[in-house]
Symmetry: C2
Subunit: 233 residues, 2 copies
């Protein structure tokens, strides 16, 4: 497919239901783009891919630059180029920023990439602690929270149409990495101060799957998956 596709490896639903073993290497994942998010083997931390470089924010509170051989169970990635760009020089919270993005995006019925870079007045994240098999459900894991003030960095992530809640997270699913590569995580809320917002409208989605028996042969329990995703993400 084209350079205007979003590539997703695994699904949020399967991850939530216990498909947490890392199966795809970062090197293979990076073949599909230079801009993305995900988590690592055993849901170990929060993956950010920015400008082709992969970083993991650990639940221990520090960021690791990934080498390439590490494996992930879930991630979404694309070749980033913006279709819409605007700046915000004002203190706006995440709800206000998301409303502006929804207004600029071509359509709520397409996937979109979202990059917000600059200075954030407040940033609140969390990061998943590494789990060991047999895995419990994602929604039962306690996750440490992290806070930063007056921090420079980039939000990286994706908007998914409502109909894709289950395989993706409906709405915005965004991670953060600071410019000094010391702080990051799954973004819970934030306040911008002086940022540039870039949006990419994707033409289509390539949905890929693990090929390992551990994934293929498991009967996943998806009975409450929509709620579990909404609560956990």
């Amino acid at each position: 497919m084209s350079k205007n596709s979003l590539y997703q490896y695994g699904t949020i639903g399967s991850l939530m239901a216990g498909a947490m073993d890392g199966t795809d290497t970062i090197n293979d994942f990076l073949k599909h783009g230079d801009f993305g998010i995900g988590t690592m083997d055993g849901v170990d931390g929060e993956l950010v891919v920015l400008d082709g470089q992969a970083f993991k924010m650990s639940a221990k509170g520090y960021v690791v630059h990934l080498e390439g051989e590490e494996k992930l169970p879930y991630g979404a990635i694309a070749h980033f180029h913006a279709n819409h760009t605007f700046t915000i020089q004002d203190e706006l919270d995440n709800e206000a920023v998301e409303a502006l993005i929804l207004d600029k995006m071509r359509s709520k019925n397409l996937f979109a990439g979202v990059k917000i870079s600059g200075t954030f007045k407040k940033m609140h994240t969390r990061a998943m602690p590494k789990q060991e098999p047999p895995y419990i459900r994602f929604s039962e894991v306690e996750q440490p929270n992290f806070y930063a003030d007056e921090i420079k960095g980039s939000i990286v992530g994706f908007y998914s149409p409502a109909l894709f809640h289950g395989t993706s997270v409906a709405g915005f699913h965004i991670h953060f990495i600071s410019d000094d590569q010391k702080f990051g995580g799954h973004v819970l809320d934030y306040v911008v101060e002086d940022v540039t917002v870039e949006i990419q409208d994707y033409a289509n989605l390539i949905q890929d799957f693990p090929k390992e028996a551990e994934f293929l042969d498991t009967e996943f329990d998806y009975s409450n998956i929509a709620e579990e995703i909404s609560l956990s993400e």
Copy 2:
């Protein structure tokens, strides 16, 4: 992507919610495979693509061979080659046949293609009558039913993993075309007599979308979509 991808244009959810305008030509759709199903502009009938030829079973009860310029709002298609093949020389109903297929498929967590060709003791189908804008919801359309006995032909369709209910139909979504190209439709139930079953395990899904404003700018109501799909498909 590879020849082992399933390509889906539009989603069942959007179709159900009223995205019924034909937007992709049969010629463009056929670039993605030789084996598929779908519906035509205004949900006019039941599309079958078999061996690269496209047919529509109309709600009026006859089959049309499509020329290529006709447009569809929804379809799924692939380059068919079987990973698993077996024969049934016994009177088995659709539930029994589906159980055999689920047993042979590589995984319930991957998409699969299903072709069942030969002699059917009973075949029960329905076909959507063409709608005109403004469209009502798919689930509110009354559809004529069709019955045939001792008929030779092919079932063409796909298995979708449970997590994809909403964008696809979870489980089996199958259409039928008779060998004499006179009878077909969306399959409701059947009894096989002497058939060959072929199954293809897909590595991944390419999910494409209409690019027309009518699709991009509509706020679809998906509040009851899972139930609507289950009732209608």
